[in-house]
Structures are given as C-alpha cells and as structure tokens.
C-alpha cells in the first residue's frame, strides 16, 4: 500500500485535536466513542475491552510521545482509524515513561485477510519516526493541515 493511500483512512469526524480525557482508559474510551458515533456501532464496550486487553499485553505507547492503540474486534465492520492529540499529555504507560501527546488508534475486523491493519499501522509507525513529521502532526491546527502533513509525508 502506498503511503499516499493513508490519507483516505483519516476521516475528519475521527480526528480529535484536543482530547478532554486525562487518563489512559478515558482517552481510549473517548476515541472509541468517536468510532461508535461515526460508524453507528452499538457494542462500544467490546471494542474498549479489546483495546484494554491489548494494552495489558504491553503498552502501545512506543515512545517520543506517540501511542498506537490497536487490535482486531468483531464489533467493527471495517478498518477504523482515529487520530487524537493531547496538549497536556496523558500517562499511557509509555516505554520511556514520558506523557503521550499523539494517538493513532487502529482497529479492524478479524476477517481483514490482507492484514491491511498491519500495513496501515506499519506505515504510520514509519512516518512518525521522522521528527519533523511528528512535529507537524503536533502542530496541525485542523483537518486540512493534517491532510497536508500526510500528503507531504507521502510525497
């Protein structure tokens, strides 16, 4: 999958430029709520439980203020991606013990046979390793600017 294709996974209603949550669990719930509202999903608790179970395996807060909560659940119909940000930072049990500011939550159904979600996850992880890209994700003021970051990073 070309990195350019990533833009299509970032939907405006699923971009939260300032999380209201201050804890790990609440931040995950806030992002899951965005997916459930957008995609009219009724079983929010199943998704949240899956993500919390994934976090118990090992925090998805990799480092440098970025986390990638992810996993598969039957409760969603297709791949969903939430971009979220917290200016203050959230204690996400990150590997470097630093607060997390950027979140890319990716969930997919188990029937995603092409492992698209691993491809999308890998693409974003690679992008975010670049300090300047990370800074631009932090600075993007709105959805338009976020799209620009993605498009420029892919070019």
């Amino acid at each position: 999958m070309a990195a350019r294709g990533l833009v299509s996974y970032f939907q405006e209603p699923l971009c939260i430029f300032e999380l209201t949550s201050t804890s790990k669990r609440d931040a995950l719930a806030e992002m899951v709520d965005a997916i459930c509202t957008q995609h009219r999903i009724k079983d929010r608790d199943i998704i949240l439980e899956m993500l919390l179970n994934r976090e118990s395996l090992g925090s998805t807060g990799i480092a440098q203020g970025v986390a990638f909560p992810h996993g598969r659940t039957l409760a969603v119909r297709g791949l969903s991606l939430v971009f979220a940000r917290s200016s203050a930072g959230i204690d996400f049990d990150a590997m470097d013990n630093e607060p997390t500011h950027l979140f890319f939550l990716i969930i997919a159904p188990p029937q995603d046979k092409d492992n698209l979600y691993l491809q999308v996850l890998g693409q974003i992880v690679n992008l975010i390793k670049d300090d300047s890209v990370r800074e631009r994700f932090l600075a993007a003021k709105d959805y338009g600017e976020l799209r620009q970051v993605l498009e420029q990073a892919a070019s």
Binding site: I46, N53, L74, P110, G122
Partner: protein, 115 residues
C-alpha cells in the same frame, strides 16, 4: 440488556481475545509488530482476561464455542445483509429478534453475531 445479549457479547469478547493470543503466538505477526517497536510480553495477562470472560459464559454455550472453534478459525461471525459471513447461508430474519438464545447458523453451525 438481556442475559442472552450479554452472553453473545461475551462470546465476541472471547473470540477477540483468542485472536489476540493467536496473533502473539504467530511468529510472523508478532515479529512484524515487535519490529515496529511494540511490546508483547505479558501474554499471561491475556490468559487471565480469558479466564475472567469464560467464567461468565454459561458452560453449555462455552462448550459450543470451544467445539465450533475446533472446526473454524472464526467461531463467531457477523450477520451482514441477513447472511452468515462464515458460509454465506441465508439467516432467517426472525433470528435477529430472538431474545432467549444465542443463535447459530443452521448451515455451518457458527455462532451468529448481529452487528
């Protein structure tokens, strides 16, 4: 929320967890995720979570899940457009409104989940 509804949701949560455990145990997938920088060390936590879920599922239903899972990778499948997405057999419309039982596909035996 009915007890049946809860049981169906617990089966979905159980399958999610079983897939996660399988993913961790799959060398190719776990290597890919570890190469991205993810930690996947506490598999014991997943097994504890599984025990907690299974303790809440009626034994007969859990047996059905375990039995079907020996045949199919996906034991619980969503119903889309009135079709079982495991075998694509038509699912009677009345199944959606069944309040007293967790429904299974009459064709393949998979457990049905109404999204």
């Amino acid at each position: 929320m009915t007890e049946t509804k809860d049981q169906a949701k617990l089966l979905v949560a159980l399958q999610d967890l079983d897939h996660m455990i399988k993913e961790v145990q799959d060398t190719q997938t776990s290597t890919e995720l570890k190469d991205m920088g993810f930690q996947m060390d506490n598999i014991g936590e997943l097994k504890n979570a599984r025990d907690k879920i299974t303790a809440q599922i009626r034994p007969q239903l859990l047996n059905r899940y375990e039995r079907v899972s020996r045949t199919y990778d996906r034991t619980v499948v969503p119903v889309v457009n009135e079709l079982c997405t495991g075998c694509f057999a038509k699912v009677p419309t009345s199944f959606r409104y069944e309040k007293h039982a967790v429904m299974t596909c009459e064709s393949c035996g998979r457990i049905l989940y109404f999204i």
